[in-house]
Amino acid sequence: MSYFGDIYKGIKTLLTGMSVTGKVFLNNKNNSITQQYPDNRETLKMFNRFRGEVVMPHNEKNEHTCTGCQKCEIACPNGSIEIIWDRQIDPESGKKKKMIDQHIYHLGMCTMCGLCIEACPTDAILWAQNYENSVYDRSALTKVLNQPGSKIMPGVED
């Protein structure tokens, strides 16, 4: 009679399966795992360590801490960072010192590996937590991280 036994067992397993989905169906209000993405921008908060984009923080005097040591440029596996630098006379000490002209960051080539930020001796670059990085024009992904007219913060040495 294993013929009918098989049918009985088969139907039982089918009903067990249906009970699992059925429970989810009845609780769907509380269970839903999807996020209403563009609507929840206000509440959607990334974790502090989230790697969104490399930024260079500036203080209120428009000063950053990048000494132009190029360690990030060397650490980067994809060549996403290019630093244009020059030796200029430091107004404080009056000596010639390496200073950045432009810290160029190609977001389009970046793989968010974090090696540049690990390599930076002065914490001049950090991760930003923004996540909406798509643009209409590829060239907009090439960013200059130091703000125009910004200077190195006095007292920062590598």
Partner: protein, 345 residues
């Protein structure tokens, strides 16, 4: 002479009018079913479902239909153009035709013929020709395999659909749908026929799901095996016809079950003393649709829970399990009717 022409004209007008009303209702109903399926699927799957177009996403399928209408009709160069274009109409027309015989209430029935059940079984199996044509004519290997599977599947499962309904016909003694409902005033057939009726109902639901080519019997499309199966090469409105037909077929299968097993537009027996139906007969539509949608929901529940069968297991299920059981069941039902063991309320 003049009179007779008038009658003919009247009939023609009537027919056209009724056809237009039915078409209107059921294209909307089809769209609603698509929406329902998507919502139900979402709720089974921890999602929210469509909720962007209109309140609670109610207009989502309208928007989809508009998109499909405006889409370009692509096709393969080497397709058999005539058959390729014919196939979707075959499918949609055959499924719309079946709707004509359903009694929505006592008065609301377009076409009450005395071979109602027979007509339904016959019509519902014509659709497969459209699928075969579509798969063959679109000159695509995946489509061809899908179509061949469909042929195999529908031919097999028609037997079970037919025989499980025949089991119930033993109880009613008539094929006419309005009379089948009349018989059920003494209790729904699933109650009257108790054990064999329940078995027949289970067989019918399994075979019916297979007949509509829905998961777990969606061999024809079998997304993970054949991509899109027989309608791989269809786009735009022609694809929409196949899509809509699938949902109308689902409605038809559920509606047959509601009519034959669950008393159609009859209200549940414990409500009869209240006499709502006598005051307000149109309430029958509510009961009919309520039962039908409950069964449609059951089919959706199947779809979103079970894995798909393999094509040979599909045939094993039919020929080794459903068919012998079905034949036994008919004998059992005949015995019960003969010995007068039915339950009458």
């Amino acid at each position: 002479m003049i009179l007779s022409i008038n009658i003919v004209e009247n009939n023609m007008l009537n027919m056209l009018l009724i056809a237009a009303i039915y078409l209107g209702i059921f294209s909307v109903a089809g769209l609603f079913l698509v929406l329902l399926e998507r919502k139900v699927a979402a709720w089974f799957q921890l999602r929210l479902g469509p909720n962007r177009v209109g309140p609670w996403g109610l207009l989502q399928t309208m928007a989809d239909a508009l998109k499909l209408v405006s889409k370009e009709l692509t096709g393969t160069v080497k397709a058999d153009k005539f058959l390729y274009n014919l196939a979707p109409y075959f499918v949609i027309i055959s499924s719309l035709m079946a709707l004509a015989v359903f009694p929505f209430t006592q008065e609301f029935q377009a076409f009450d013929i005395n071979i109602g059940i027979f007509f339904l079984i016959a019509i519902s199996s014509i659709g497969v020709i459209g699928i075969l044509l579509g798969g063959w004519a679109s000159n695509n290997k995946f489509a061809l395999i899908g179509a061949m599977r469909s042929g195999v599947q529908t031919i097999s499962y028609e037997l079970s659909v037919g025989l499980s309904l025949v089991t119930m016909v033993l109880l009613t003694g008539t094929l006419q749908l309005s009379e089948i409902i009349e018989v059920q005033k003494n209790g729904w057939l699933i109650v009257q026929g108790h054990i064999p009726a329940i078995i027949a109902f289970m067989i019918y639901m399994i075979a019916g799901t297979a007949e509509t080519n829905r998961a777990p019997f969606d061999m024809v499309e079998a997304e993970s095996e054949l991509g899109a199966g027989f309608h791989t090469e269809y786009s735009g409105m022609k694809f929409a016809y196949f899509f809509l037909a699938e949902f109308i077929n689902m409605f038809i299968i559920a509606a047959i079950a509601a009519t034959v097993f669950f008393g159609g537009w009859l209200e549940p027996a414990w409500l009869t003393p209240l006499g709502i139906a006598e005051v307000f007969p149109a309430i029958g539509v509510f009961w009919f649709l309520g039962k039908t949608f409950a069964l449609v929901f059951l089919m959706m529940w199947f779809r979103w829970t079970f894995p798909r069968l393999r094509v040979d297991q599909l045939l094993t299920l039919e020929w080794k399990y459903l068919l012998p059981l079905n034949l036994l069941n008919i004998v059992l039902m005949a015995l019960i009717v003969w010995l007068g063991l039915t339950i009458q309320i």
